[in-house]
Symmetry: C2
Subunit: 335 residues, 2 copies
């Protein structure tokens, strides 16, 4: 495992993007956010995912130059066409628009169609928090999970973000609608581990913690069983409907690697109706109460959502970002 400085990682990713004729503004942003994803512990959607982004650019699924184009706007509500641009810059742009609308109207919603993978969902929650706003965002995905009671995959494990700004540390939830990602199952299989809880169904149709069984059946478990399956469906309709874009069903028909997804960004200008110091006091008291929970294990630790990511960032800033040699070799081979 390498340990590389954030700046080195970002510079390298940026240089690779230039080999794909990426405009500087986009190359800087995408390299920054993907290096930051690894810096803050979301390795799956950071450096590890970068080679796949390059393949997606090379196969023409991702257009490095495209910018979102306004489709319709009414007051605090707008939808954009992402023109199959880079997922990160498209999503960032739309959250900025939602924030601008929230500055004017108190709340803003932007829906985005024909876009690409936004990588770490939490990014856009933190983006709003950095401007003192709360946020709700979600995206749809290709069909990769069976709905409740079904065998075949017709819904997506669509991630949901809810973010709350706090001076002592933003509280950000970034949860996908499958209990585990395929990536997590593959990693566990590689390491010969079982999952800590049920991860999906085996060939006999029973719940199992064995990742290789679930990888065989492709029947991953929705988060909260029937609940996450249902939430996935309604988020898909909201994203597809508001953006006039692809739903998971339509994404399935496109074929190839995932592209053309639909997303929703909501920014909430909380301090326009609630004094900042009062909000901070309310939130701080709630977080302190949460953290005073009695852990199950003797030296167990209770954290608030987002706390670990802040700590990993500090650790990786000091020690360098851990990066697999083979992945780094692949990335530098593009230069």
């Amino acid at each position: 495992m390498l340990r590389l400085k954030f700046e080195e990682v970002q510079n390298t990713l940026e240089k690779v993007l230039y080999t794909r004729n990426c405009p500087p503004e986009h190359a800087r942003k995408v390299s920054y956010e993907m290096a930051r994803n690894s810096l803050e512990g979301t390795y799956t959607h950071g450096v590890n995912r970068f080679p796949r982004l390059i393949w997606n650019i090379d196969e023409g699924i991702v257009n490095v130059e495209a910018k979102p184009v306004l489709v319709n706007r009414f007051g605090a509500l707008a939808n954009y066409d992402g023109k199959l641009g880079l997922g990160i810059t498209n999503a960032w742009f739309c959250m900025e628009q939602a924030i601008a609308q929230a500055k004017e109207y108190g709340i803003g919603l932007v829906a985005l169609r024909n876009t690409n993978h936004w990588m770490r969902a939490a990014t856009y929650g933190y983006q709003a928090c950095a401007q003192g706003m709360a946020a709700i965002c979600f995206t749809n995905t290709i069909p990769n999970m069976p709905t409740w009671g079904a065998i075949d995959s017709r819904i997506g494990n669509n991630p949901l973000v809810m973010a709350f700004p706090r001076e002592k540390g933003d509280v950000v939830v970034d949860m996908s609608m499958s209990q585990f990602s395929y990536g997590a199952l593959e990693l566990a299989q590689l390491e010969g581990r079982r999952m800590s809880i049920d991860a999906g169904y085996d060939e006999a149709g029973e719940l199992t913690r064995d990742p290789s069984q679930v990888l065989k059946t492709r029947r991953i478990l929705p988060t909260g069983y029937w609940k996450g399956a249902a939430l996935s469906v309604v988020m898909d309709l909201l994203a597809g409907g508001l953006a006039l874009g692809n739903t998971t069903a339509a994404l399935g028909r496109l074929g190839g690697d995932e592209h053309g997804v639909s997303q929703v960004f909501i920014a909430i200008n909380i301090h326009k109706i609630a004094p900042p110091e009062e909000v901070e006091r309310i939130a701080d008291e709630a977080v302190r109460d949460l953290l005073s929970s009695r852990p199950i294990r003797e030296n167990g630790r209770i954290v608030y959502p987002g706390e670990r990511s802040k700590e990993i960032r500090a650790e990786n800033l000091k020690a360098g970002i851990p990066i697999d040699e083979r992945i780094w070799a692949t990335i530098t081979s593009y230069l």
Copy 2:
């Protein structure tokens, strides 16, 4: 089990509310919605819950006359003080305000503090759908669930609603952040059933499907394990912060039966940026694809979120609402 007509149920509940000096407008609305909850299959928050509402009125937790009072407003964002009024009329009022704001600005958010149990969360999703709008709502609750990795209950099983309007049937998700409610566990214990999946922890600290074990430890399972626990925390901060109201921690300190909760209502005027017929086509195609999933069991059936409730309504309209004799005797004894 009795089978009573909707009108008889509503009229009886309404008459009981008059014995508690409830203003006619409030008595009509609360009796209508609680009868409707049972009509549409949410028995736990319909007639079955009515005696507890009466106790809450009698002990002074619920003020039958109170109406929400505006605290702050900025554009499409507002917060209200519910003055410990009836949960249903308070919540309905605030969703109406959110809808009014969404008519003007495309989206509207209303936060509500010092309110009481809104009964069936889905009610306010359907309320928005009936006016062609999508909705997101959530409420906090008293501490009734341990956070992930903890033994003691310091978070709430805060329900979340997401609703999407559709001519062929609204798609509405109403999910609490515990996999099962205490009510569901108690019912299973009474009937000598085990839960279909893990419901919480036993005294040895292992996951169990045995409801009596979980009722003993009070360690119910968050929806999606760590995921629902995290979502519960951020929804609590959003509700408490936006409404300048009680968080779950503060509700725990109030003591007594649950009162003074905080809620958030978001209405999204989707058709202002997306033509209705286009939205309907996109959603219809997605729902049809979902329903074409292959069921696990030979005569299994795949439904969209909200479909069963529509069917139960039709069944109960025909056969009458099933009501436990003892509960009905309690209710009529108030007259």
